[in-house]
């Protein structure tokens, strides 16, 4: 035995002595791993907690109940319930009169202050009500009106009585009026009919996501209709038909590159090509859908190719053996068997597209659009862009509504991903 190599018994002693340190290092690594996961989970929970606590109140608002005299001559002077007639009518004045009768403001200044307590959408609400239900004319009915967003913030406790008046967004007199209304039990906290039913508005209390939501649905439909067939067709061609030559390699490199390009760039391309060169209108779901489709295409192609590759060659061999042609094998056997994987990939791609903001900003979807889009050619916006635009507004109520909108968006994303996972589990085949 050469004295360079340690004898086994000496080695054993050395090793035994080193164990404690090494074990503690081992435990430390395990601890670091746990801490790391803990930190990540903490971030996730903080994010969700912050959004949820801000957003949950966004689904509710404060309303005031007033007794409204539905006097036909005053509300609908032309008598035909047309928009023009209602516009000329005195709906707001009637509402104000009802308000004044309760809080009794004195003088012009106080009346002006009192008017602003109720949301400026009062006449629109009356107009909608009489249009839907003309039998209201001639009755005196209780109607709930949304309160102005400053009043709402005060009632929630964000604007405090204690702050000196000149630093407050709401005056002492207004607070007096509100207290009076409260005493009469006319103020209530309800599920907001604006957040989901209303569209973009400069007034926080009237703002809602309906327009943006419909815009999102339209845009996603366009995206799906374009991206899914194209993606599947490309995947099928590359996997089953094309020979492995320079051209197919080039196409593959292209697809991988496109997957790596930042989403903003797709928006820029949409701006330069679809809008400037093709002259398509800005801010329409059709153009948005086209841009998103091109962006999602690589994802769908890559996952579809994986799904096609997972179909075992034995299936194809069996079909060829019976005498099927290549196209028949593809369409009758391969595609149906690969469909679950392709669908899951597509759903995941759509979920990503739903959350995309930057490319749609580029094609102009930042406009302030009040109307709900009726078709893919009407100007519209999408939910993430709406969130982006609202995020700039400092009013408390906007913060809450923005968070509520985020909750809706996340809700959809979670369901889409859950659907994809469910489909994957259910339709998964073990070859």
């Amino acid at each position: 035995m050469n004295n360079k190599i340690i004898s086994p018994s000496d080695a054993l002693d050395i090793v035994k002595k080193s164990i404690v340190k090494r074990r503690s290092r081992d435990n430390r690594l395990k601890l670091f791993g746990r801490i790391a996961i803990g930190v990540a989970v903490c971030f996730l929970l903080t994010l969700f907690y912050s959004i949820f606590t801000k957003g949950y109140p966004g689904f509710f608002q404060y309303y005031v109940t007033l007794d409204i005299k539905f006097d036909r001559e005053r509300i609908d002077p032309k008598g035909d319930l047309s928009d023009n007639s209602l516009f000329d009518g005195e709906a707001s004045i009637i509402v104000n009169e009802s308000l004044y009768s309760i809080i009794q403001p004195k003088g012009r200044k106080e009346k002006k202050l009192a008017k602003k307590i109720v949301s400026s959408g009062k006449d629109v609400r009356i107009a909608k009500m009489v249009k839907n239900n003309p039998s209201l004319f001639g009755t005196t009915t209780s109607v709930k009106f949304a309160l102005d967003d400053d009043v709402d913030s005060f009632l929630r406790g964000y604007l405090k009585r204690e702050t000196p008046e000149n630093e407050r967004r709401i005056s002492d007199k207004a607070i007096q009026f509100i207290d009076k209304l409260n005493e009469e039990g006319r103020i209530s906290y309800e599920f907001s009919d604006y957040i989901l039913g209303g569209s973009a508005s400069g007034n926080a209390e009237m703002a809602g996501i309906k327009g943006a939501f419909i815009g999102s649905m339209l845009t996603l439909s366009v995206c799906l209709l374009i991206a899914f067939p194209l993606g599947v067709a490309t995947a099928v061609y590359l996997e089953e038909i094309a020979k492995k030559n320079r051209i197919t390699e080039f196409i593959e490199v292209n697809i991988n590159n496109l997957a790596a390009v930042p989403s903003v760039v797709f928006g820029i391309m949409g701006l330069a090509i679809f809008i400037s060169i093709f002259g398509m209108p800005r801010s329409i779901p059709l153009v948005g859908g086209m841009v998103l489709a091109l962006m999602t295409l690589p994802t769908i192609i890559i996952s579809s190719r994986a799904a096609i590759r997972a179909v075992p060659p034995s299936v194809r061999d069996a079909a060829y053996g019976i005498g099927a042609s290549k196209i028949q094998v593809i369409f009758h056997h391969v595609i149906p068997l690969a469909m679950p994987g392709m669908l899951t990939g597509t759903i995941i791609g759509m979920a990503q597209a739903l959350g995309e903001t930057a490319p749609l900003l580029m094609i102009g979807m930042v406009a302030f659009i009040v109307d709900v889009p009726n078709s893919v050619l009407d100007p519209g916006t999408v939910l993430p862009v709406q969130i982006f635009m609202w995020a700039d507004f400092a009013e408390r109520m906007f913060i809450q509504k923005t968070s509520a909108a985020i909750i809706v968006l996340l809700g959809f994303l979670i369901s889409m991903n859950a659907l994809a996972v469910y489909l994957r589990k259910k339709l998964e085949r073990r070859w």
Binding site: N2, K4, I5, P8, A11, L12, I14, V15
Partner: protein, 271 residues
Amino acid sequence: MLINNDLKTLDLTVGDVFSQNPRLKARNVSVFYGDNKAIDNVTIDIGNKEVISFIGPSGCGKSTFLRCFNRMNDTIDSCAVKGEITIDDENIYDKKIDVVPLRARIGMVFQKPNPFPKSIYDNVAYGPRIHGLSENKEHLDGIVEESLKRAGLWEEVIDRLDSPGTGLSGGQQQRLCIARAIAVSPEVILMDEPCSALDPIATAKIEELIHELGNDYSIVIVTHSMQQAARVSKKTAYFHLGKLIEVGRTKDIFTRPQHHQTEAYISGKIG
């Protein structure tokens, strides 16, 4: 010592199960994969500084039993080991025992050579480094050189110690793995079909090496080649379907097997 159980085992196993001065003692060892019993109540001694072969048909549990000796089965979740294996009268499966020094004492060479994607020097130096066996660089150099010499690889790699271990041929890689195991000063070396992935020339070199190493280390070698067992080991144990059937001197096993099953395997009737 569990004398009564020894007698029970003797009912099943034929031959010299026990040794004079055993390094390792296995008593009533059974191994389960889930509900599946892979090794059934095996008792055997591993002698000091001698080579013993485990032979038997494929799938009869030889490798599984081999891996019990250095607790490599711990890495498999579904594996449960019952019974006792002792080294120096300490049961290695005792909860208080740390597996690290055990594996430094009982080294292993695997079926497919698995050098680390590091240089040849770093491959051999890995063990001494983590255990802190060397005092300085010179000492470490010495350990590496000696280990490679004992593995019969030194001459071939002396001028390329920094080149990757994965760049060697199959036989050289396996000798590198042997050198790597030697570097931590083990007492026992377990070899799990070390030549099955090698060509005949490399195999011959390694068999020669094993024969030599038997002078300094206790070696247990699992092999599915009877001829190999005959070439390298003095003692042989025959396993069949998880049971230890017969143990004895290699010469005797192959010329005058006592058990009919051993005889059937030797003559090629089963396997």
